[in-house]
Symmetry: C2
Subunit: 354 residues, 2 copies
Amino acid sequence: MSELKNDRFLRALLRQPVDVTPVWMMRQAGRYLPEYRETRQRAGDFMALCKNPELACEVTIQPLERYPLDAAILFSDILTVPDAMGLGLYFETGEGPRFRKIVRTAQDVDALPIVNTKQDLSYVLDAVSTIRRELNGRVPLIGFSGSPWTLATYMVEGGSSKDFRFVKAMLYDQPQVMHALLEKLSLSVIDYLNEQIRAGAQAVQIFDTWGGNLSHNAYLEFSLAYMKKIVNGLIREHEGRKVPVILFTKGGGLWLDSMADTGCDALGLDWTMDIGQARSLVGNRVALQGNMDPCVLYSSNESIRAEVETILSSFGSGCGHVFNLGHGIHQFVDPARAGAFVDAVHELSAKYHQ
Amino acid sequence: MSELKNDRFLRALLRQPVDVTPVWMMRQAGRYLPEYRETRQRAGDFMALCKNPELACEVTIQPLERYPLDAAILFSDILTVPDAMGLGLYFETGEGPRFRKIVRTAQDVDALPIVNTKQDLSYVLDAVSTIRRELNGRVPLIGFSGSPWTLATYMVEGGSSKDFRFVKAMLYDQPQVMHALLEKLSLSVIDYLNEQIRAGAQAVQIFDTWGGNLSHNAYLEFSLAYMKKIVNGLIREHEGRKVPVILFTKGGGLWLDSMADTGCDALGLDWTMDIGQARSLVGNRVALQGNMDPCVLYSSNESIRAEVETILSSFGSGCGHVFNLGHGIHQFVDPARAGAFVDAVHELSAKYHQ
């Protein structure tokens, strides 16, 4: 593997000094980029794109060609894991993801295998190694997975949900079945992320998109506990370098204190939390990643710069900040605004690292 | 007006002693009730139901006939105010609310009138007085309005939104236009709620459904500041009795401390915040209303009772708790489960009021 030319991202996650604040954007390889839409069209559909390592590599690199981003993130979907468990993932136009098999009973959970990543998800590992080769040390590559709770919501509801009625009924009425499902998912995610690390991922992020929809007690018991289990099961050093782990619960601002005690290296913040307050709360336990409202990218370059400055100054001087949006970049954003954002972070942050 | 037979709800909002914890459910007059669906069918459509005081009264009372609830809430829609400002509210099947006119520019905002409730929304006041008469002192009647920010999102987007791109672009690029719109909405809401109080509403709640989608700074400046202005403009005593004001920001758990300083009497909590922690945070400043996950009503009566007990014990002994769901009751809930919930609150809470 070639030497890493830009390691700001990894250093910031480990709260080491950097010259400027590193920045990447969740969903940076996405529909707002015309070149992404072109490749996706060529692939046929979204899952065909995920399953083709060459094309997945192509879209992963595309935003790096446009912007001086400090990290690349594997192009894939969080639902590859339940798909590999045999649920039959498919996408209906305008409907989002769906599963052919739905998990609702103890028998359904018993029948689920634990994922063997090398066997069942080799296309993801091929994408990781292809991307690492193509990056050639330019920036680090982030691997990722959905959190067990987030994956479970799709598996029990059968796809996206507005009300989470079936998965919450399982949680409250059959907590032991819910725990059995989350246990299988945790073991699968540990294997999945460790294989991504072995294939070349230099940091990993766990996306807990729906943890913020749980009550306080349910979040701790059914989402955070399993993310902690995963953190403790991960390879933390590879190729002679630490592999930082980032936890991101959308809507998790109320639980940062507990999240910081899981043993992870960094917490992703959505845009609702003041990052300075978050820093005071977590202290030296973890780095922070975030947290500009993705909607700011619908505003002018001047407004974007002003918001970037507000967040930088709220975090203040010193180590431990990776700049990002508080959620994925929206599909209708003008790519030039994303460029203004990335440039603003680098330009305006230098003074906080002197 | 007849003597109030059950004033638990009003007493709890003012942190006065009660025998058992009062309970009502957001959206308690709603589609989960077959009798509601029947009346709505008879009315023709949703807005026809809102605009017919006799039928609005009928659906307001329906849940009280089924359950021993401690409050009634005016049946209406939060978008009556922008409709009265001339935007032309309509509903498309399966699409949610829409406006014929959209507010996007300084000129659009300048052209908006401030609502004269007696003139423009007399059907709401007729509904309030009709319901008060029909309630005949059984329980107090709650009036309500959407928050200025929440109303503005619909007015600028032209209806419901997933990404709030236009209203957020206005907020970041034209903050003075946004403030002018929120100012007009605040004056309109003050008039609207004060007229509801004069017509018979015995408490009022401000629903800030979309405040939780703002960044920390934007929430304080564009949502909370205007709710505070409203609180300070309201009639706080009527018919010789205090008229409590409840603020409810969905997803507002991070901002409870600031919300408690607005001068309101109570804060509504969604289900993500631990109510005991919230109580420690707000101290004696305000009462708390909430906060069971509405999805618990998809589970068994035993699970419902267990969750009710968890919340009651987290709040602990003493005054200042109105039990509620953390958001509106879902349409697919079995009405029997709602009954189990209401009964559980009364039965299990007595021991906390000895």
